[in-house]
Symmetry: C2
Subunit: 429 residues, 2 copies
């Protein structure tokens, strides 16, 4: 099994204690609770609050072995995964290698507009955001200072909405009193969405609610606008240039290169087209699940790359393998859609649960409860609750550390390693 | 004021709300509680648990301005600090720029034997230690596996003792059940001390206690032995080679280059010799405090580079400046020595408080209480308590994340930037 994100971990847990001999390969030693990564990027939580060592999570299953390695390919003929110098043989292969941000043919933008998929991305963004305020404080040129205090978030899906809301709260609350020459409350936060509304996968009224809530936080929401260029000066929306020192990319994802490893048919987001049982057509021994898979849902459209889909697919594969071993079969994979949520800020979120739509405080309470519940590991759960309670009461942010650089100049910062677009390495989701 | 470690922050707080116009310059945006840095390096705490933003700490003092910048020199003639592109003028200068690890003429060892002074050092060491276990798990060569499971800590002062104890507990408890091919409990932890006893600044019986306690944890304590070479294969103690993948340098510190900035007289550890009022001789407007200063104590010997000395010196300078402004003077600086403590592991520490000597559980409880009390910021205090309680009950370590690298190979890891031995940058302590 390759990848210990939501999908891979769910499958591993299903197979834990069974007669199968399971090897979990991941390039990271931890499982990352990606839905809260934006809180690391905005100094609300520490990386360790939302990540747990894979070995710890799986240590009680003696039939599971964990390997920390970069997977670079699959040899279907030999039945082996290629991981660094060695090959790991398999009888059954589960690929759950996730997705990475994509710049749709503009990879050169990645330097200026970092995305948010990995821990290192989040600490890098945190550094960029905090350093922008620091540089603004000592900048004497007014136009330059304004650019340093301008934050552009590209993409109006859940990640973009959450990032824009969190940056706005950071500037308006946590940092408000800490500077002498600038007023962080004057920071401009611009959320750019190419579609006619935010959160396009949500019901229309909730998109409206999200927009209002963001605007109340002072976020400038630009609908129907696309980024046409991105450089160290800022972005261009159509023909209009916006000077901004900080750009956050939340506009698109691309599946990991598992499709290329398998030489399989992929959709335009690089996802492998799988059958009803989540196997690669013609290969009942190869499963592709999670963000890496294009799996057709009940409505005839591909399922979204969200945690609940990944988890349910992982569980399904585990159950299917156990059924096969017992000589039985299972009906096809069916996704049970319990709804979707996105948070905007303190006491503000939108949620859809079947026919029920919530916004404001009730949605936020539900969002908080659900995320705490799903956070893996008891310790992380209480630390997160405590941090949130603290942030809620004080408006402070606990993890405002600028680490990983020796000076205060943005140019000095080491960006995280690029995400290997070319078939090298599986992604921890 | 340059440096916001214990000394600089204590001085700033004394001057907060006074008539002075105070500028605090630091290369980091946070104050680091260095005595607990070893817990970050051994996956017990997150960096944010032991660091607080300087701006937050000082935000209520409207007469204090915080500047995030690298200081590279002082122009005494012009009365200005040189920080990156600009000069920051001063009437009174307080230098509290700390110390860095020193390899005593063997700077080439720093690659193989990283020290522990900054947040980036700690996360780098955490990565090295955790990756060593991961690589051992997949290593087929027995000798190589043994080298990967060998950890050498160089230096038997408090940092060395604490690191050796913490690595031993990590291996014997937290990681014990998580691997399939290796038994982390078989890891060798070797503590090398050139002097005839551990903790030479403590009373002799406590050195004995510390040695016994470490040996009970399975640490191999080597007294009267010196490291004669250090490379990627391991260390050499005299003529005896020890193969080890992980070497931790806790053997020596060197003051930051403030002495060179001032062209002042320094001792052999690079510390500026200061007068009884902590000023540079001949310059009543320049104070040097904390680890950067060589200040003669009541017993005629230079005071040690520890937090209580730094704090008291900072407070003294703040009081002296306020007294001067009021037309008064203060008697010379006198260090009130309340004792010293070092922790070895769970329920195990040594402490000396004047005539009282404690070891074992009582010392550990005292150590815990004192460190929690002194941790800056209410939030950090409760998070740390919670983490400790959790680690205590479960023997687990909460922050076992290998971050900042894309693969599992040690060679891929980016070491933190070197510590600028040559006059560039002030050190956050």
């Amino acid at each position: 099994m390759v990848g210990a994100g939501f999908a891979g971990l769910a499958a591993a847990k299903q197979l834990g204690g069974s007669g199968f001999d399971v090897t979990v390969v991941d390039r990271h030693n931890y499982h990352l609770f990606q839905p809260l990564l934006y809180q690391v990027a905005t100094a609300g939580l520490s990386p360790a609050d939302i990540a747990s060592p894979i070995r710890s999570i799986l240590s009680r299953y003696k039939n599971i072995r964990v390997v920390l390695a970069n997977v670079s390919g699959v040899s279907i003929d030999e039945g082996a995964v290629i991981a660094e110098e060695r090959q790991i043989p398999y009888d059954v292969l589960i690929l759950a290698t996730g997705a990475q941000h994509a710049y749709f043919g503009h990879d050169e933008w990645s330097v200026h507009a970092p995305g948010l998929k990995r821990v290192d991305d989040a600490t890098y963004l945190r550094r960029r955001i905090l350093v922008a305020f620091e540089r603004a404080e000592s900048e004497v040129d007014e136009a330059r200072r304004q650019a340093l205090l301008t934050f552009v978030v590209v993409g109006g899906g859940p990640t973009g909405v959450e990032m824009a809301g969190a940056i706005a709260e950071l500037a308006r609350k946590a940092l408000a009193a800490d500077f002498r020459h600038i007023d962080p409350r004057n920071a401009r936060i611009i959320l750019v969405q190419a579609a006619p509304r935010l959160l396009p996968t949500f019901p229309e009224p909730l998109s409206q609610r999200a927009k209002f809530a963001l605007e109340r936080l002072g976020v400038d929401v630009r609908l129907n606008q696309s980024v046409t260029s991105c450089d160290s000066e800022g972005v261009r929306l159509g023909e209009v240039p916006i000077e901004a020192a900080t750009i956050v990319w939340a506009a698109g994802v691309m599946a990991s290169p598992a499709g290329r490893w398998l030489q399989a048919e992929v959709d335009n987001a690089g996802r492998v087209r799988v059958g009803e049982d989540l196997t690669l057509p013609g290969h009942p021994e190869i499963f592709v699940i999670g963000d890496t898979a294009n799996c057709i849902g009940n409505d005839g459209r591909p399922l979204a790359g969200v945690a609940p889909v990944a988890k349910q697919q992982g569980e399904f594969v585990g159950q299917l393998l156990k059924a096969r071993a017992a000589g039985r079969t299972l009906p096809r994979f069916r996704y049970r859609d319990f709804g979707a949520m996105a948070t905007i800020g303190r006491k503000s979120a939108v949620a859809q649960l079947g026919p029920i739509r919530l916004h404001g405080l009730p949605a936020w309470l539900l969002w908080s409860a659900a995320h705490i519940y799903y956070l893996i590991g008891f310790r992380n759960r209480i630390t997160v609750v405590l941090n949130w309670a603290w942030n809620y009461v004080t408006f402070q942010r606990g993890t405002r550390l600028i680490t990983g650089l020796s000076g205060s100049r943005v140019e000095d910062m080491a960006a995280p390693a690029p995400m290997e677009p070319d078939g090298v390495g599986n992604l921890n989701r």
